[in-house]
Amino acid sequence: MFAYVIGRLLATIPVMAVVAVFVFFLLRIAPGDPAAIIAGDDATTQDIENIRAKLGLDRPMLEQFALWCWRLMQGDLGISIFSNLPVTQLIAQRLEPTLALTISTLLVAVVLAVPMGVLAAWKARSLADRVVMGFAVMGFAVPVFLAGYILIYVFSIKLGWLPVQGYRPIAQGLWPFVEGLILPSIALGTTYCALIARITRASMLEVLSQDYIRTAESKGLATPRVLLLHALKNSAVPIVTVIGIGIALLISGVVITETVFNIPGLGRLTVDAVLKRDYPIVQGLILVFAAGKVLVNLMIDISYAFLDPRIRY
């Protein structure tokens, strides 16, 4: 196992190198010029050229790439063109909100979805099953922004229970931290809840038809015990896979939720940087996202060994 983990970690190096090459050159090929954005509407072509020169954007692309790689190898993701702050600092500022939103969303999704999926499988083709699957369809169909606006209207504007927007770090208090995450987690978690519920149901249905389940029931084991200890445990691999994919998707894909609920996370940082053509931030973020995805995938693979004794590395 240890050798496997080390091997997988070493394999991330070429993956990151390929990502670095692609992200750098794709950004440079894409239209847009940060110097023109900085210079503003009243700037002349000469003004823009002067700023380009000062930012080093007039240098040959390969020279810019070599310089970036050299800094990268020293752990330096560069300096934001607009704010003049280190990209690592900007990412660090945004990491906590995104992680908090991701974890709370997964909590909401997993805590609701797994029991719903188990229930739907156990009572397959019953009213309960149809209700759960109806919820799953709705969860997929309702866009996150719409769910967000509805939740804000009901729970913030009409009832006044929760704030409309904003993120308070946990250092500012537990309740301010939690209350700011409730609505975004529900809005974002609905889709994932639907996905996990469907996968849980499908996986459980397959396991529930196995002989050993019938044997367990014949032995007189209580239904919850059969469902949770025998069926759910053996359905866990696909469920964990989906949850793992969800983590990776959530880290990089919370843009809309962060925008609707004004959470200063990595998703918004990415979109703002792309729109402003703040190359160092975009490059740094994509590398971080890529590393995150690789690590999450590794953790999923390792978890298989714990969930299924037949799997060994």
């Binding site: 023109a36 503003g40 509407d41 003049n84 913030s156 927007q165 537990l174 609707v260 940082l269």
Partner: protein, 536 residues
């Protein structure tokens, strides 16, 4: 470790966690309870600390909080001394002697001197078009002593004070010598000014929040605050500029009382805001904040032909644009001029040409002017909340006139890059783009760079007419209001004939705020001053 030990440790950890959480929940609230905090959502996020380096309006708003200016305009747009205590203009109008007022200190505690002021003027003047023009007519700027300096002109340029007190970006803020000596094309990394608020760099989260703390050492002028002149008395202890990219969230946050001030509420939301308890909507300034314009590229066919450019006037009905972008007539105005309507220089020069909307005769006019069906490349910024609908209306009008359109959809960042290209459209250039500009800029022919026609040295589209530039310069030397109005009328007439741009009307962007909590908002067109707002 025994089971009992593990249970004990878990209990201890839980207790510590609860205690820490409880402490964290209580402590900061006590700390901030004594502070008066203004929470404002502006039109953009503060990403750049250098108001000289960029023309972004938000950088100007940041600059006016942290820094100070030598002059500031009053409610009638007349420049009044701000950092300057007294000043004198020589009878030949060539020498301006200015003395800094007492009590001016940088946020690091050192005194403001002419060693800071002179390089600040030079740095700002290198970047700002109005500043460039001022320096063009300046022979030298010299220090008399620590507090007095002279601007000695080559010619009696009449816009010295107005330029030093301009409200549009780049705002001529004064910086410490250390920052003022930085190359104008390189961004300064510190924001240590002498203004009414200090920038809290350690609390700055670009893309989310910018914090300013009251400068307790600031010595305001004794006169009452009027626009950007008079005493800048900090009204709160702390200002937080919170960036919300979603206008609906910002509106709901104001309604729910989570913010105090919303600089640019979406006009669609105004009825909701006006109905909300504790929320008020205010018109800003005496003149409209924004005007739209269609910019043609004079370098390439078909718009290198002035007759074809003039034929474009026939397809433009400003009402169509304004109804689409603004909707409510209370907030917009048809303006058949290039100088902002409602400003002191509003005039009728060339207006008849702009008012010649004739969609039925447009196709014939284009043919008569020599249009042969060449493709017209339009840069269409589909992500811009204002420019996108303006461009769509224009495209529809051009289609109805039978023009051959090549529409290039892209984001605004790409438009900004591509519009700087002088190559023919087929080689990555362009024929038309749509943009907006500020009403205050449009009110002053020197600052109004879009009305210029300086050929290669001018703005994108590169209209070329020495007579237009001559009139702009002459306006700067006019000494009386009547003379200024006469030159402005001639300038507008000539610029409309040349079709430097096609105006699509002007509108007012109101602000919304919690009137049950804050007061003292100074209505200013084009820029927002937050220092005087007080909170109950």
């Amino acid at each position: 470790m025994t089971r009992q030990n593990r249970s004990g440790l878990r209990a201890l950890a839980l207790a510590c966690g609860v205690a820490l959480a409880a402490t964290a929940a209580v402590a900061p609230r006590e700390a901030v309870a004594q502070e008066k905090v203004l929470r404002a959502v502006m039109h953009a996020d503060v990403r750049t600390l250098d108001p000289h380096w960029t023309t972004q309006t938000i950088a100007g708003i940041h600059g006016l909080l942290v820094y100070d200016t030598l002059f500031g305009v009053d409610d009638d747009f007349v420049p009044q001394p701000q950092m300057v205590g007294k000043y004198d203009i020589s009878p030949d109008k060539l020498t301006y002697t200015m003395t800094l007022r007492d009590g001016l200190r940088w946020h690091d505690g050192t005194a403001v001197t002419t060693r800071d002021i002179i390089p600040s003027i030079r740095r700002w003047g290198a970047r700002d078009p109005a500043g460039q023009r001022l320096l063009l007519f300046t022979d030298r700027i010299e220090a008399v002593d620590e507090k007095t300096f002279k601007i000695i002109l080559k010619e009696p340029y009449g816009q010295v004070l107005a330029t030093l007190g301009k409200t549009s970006t780049s705002v001529p803020v004064m910086m410490r010598e250390k920052e003022a000596m930085v190359d104008p094309n390189t961004q300064v990394t510190e924001a240590i000014g002498s203004g009414p608020f200090r920038f809290a760099k350690d609390q700055w989260v670009p893309g989310s929040k910018t914090v300013y703390l009251k400068n307790a050492d600031y010595v305001p002028r004794s006169e009452p605050a009027r626009t950007l002149s008079g005493g800048k008395i900090p009204g709160v202890d702390r200002i937080e500029l919170i960036w919300m990219s979603d206008p609906q969230t910002a509106m709901q946050a104001l309604v729910n009382g989570e913010i105090d001030f919303l600089e640019v509420p979406q006009i669609d939301f105004l009825p909701i805001l006006e109905r909300s308890r504790g929320v008020s909507v205010m018109k800003t300034g005496k003149i409209d904040s924004t005007f739209g314009m269609i910019r043609l590229n004079h370098l390439h066919p078909p718009f290198d032909n002035p007759k074809i450019r003039q034929a474009m006037y026939k397809i433009i009905n400003q009402e169509d644009f304004l109804r689409t972008v603004v909707g409510n007539p209370a907030f917009y105005k048809v303006c058949h001029g290039l100088i902002t309507c409602g400003s002191p220089l509003e005039n009728k020069g060339g207006s008849a040409m702009l008012a010649g909307h004739d969609p039925k005769g447009a196709a014939a006019a284009f043919r008569a002017a020599g249009y042969k069906g060449e493709p017209i490349t339009i840069l269409h910024a589909t992500d811009h909340v204002t420019i996108n609908p303006l461009t769509q209306v224009m495209i529809q009008a051009m289609r109805e006139a039978g023009l051959n359109l090549d529409i290039q959809a892209m984001d605004w960042g790409s438009v900004v890059q591509r519009r700087a290209k002088k190559e023919p459209p087929a080689q990555g250039g362009w024929n038309i783009f749509v943009t907006t500009s500020s009403g205050t800029s449009g009110a002053n022919p020197i600052i109004h760079t879009w009305i210029g026609a300086a050929c290669d040295r001018g703005l994108f589209g590169w209209p070329c007419d020495p007579e237009v530039e001559k009139l702009r310069s002459a306006w700067g030397f006019a000494q009386t209001d009547a003379e200024r109005l006469k030159i402005a009328t001639d300038l507008q007439t000539r610029a409309i004939e040349n079709v430097v741009y096609i105006p699509t009307g002007q509108w007012m962007q109101p602000i919304a705020y919690r009137s049950d909590r804050i007061s003292g908002i100074v209505p200013i067109t084009g820029i927002t001053a937050l220092w005087g707002i007080t909170k109950r």
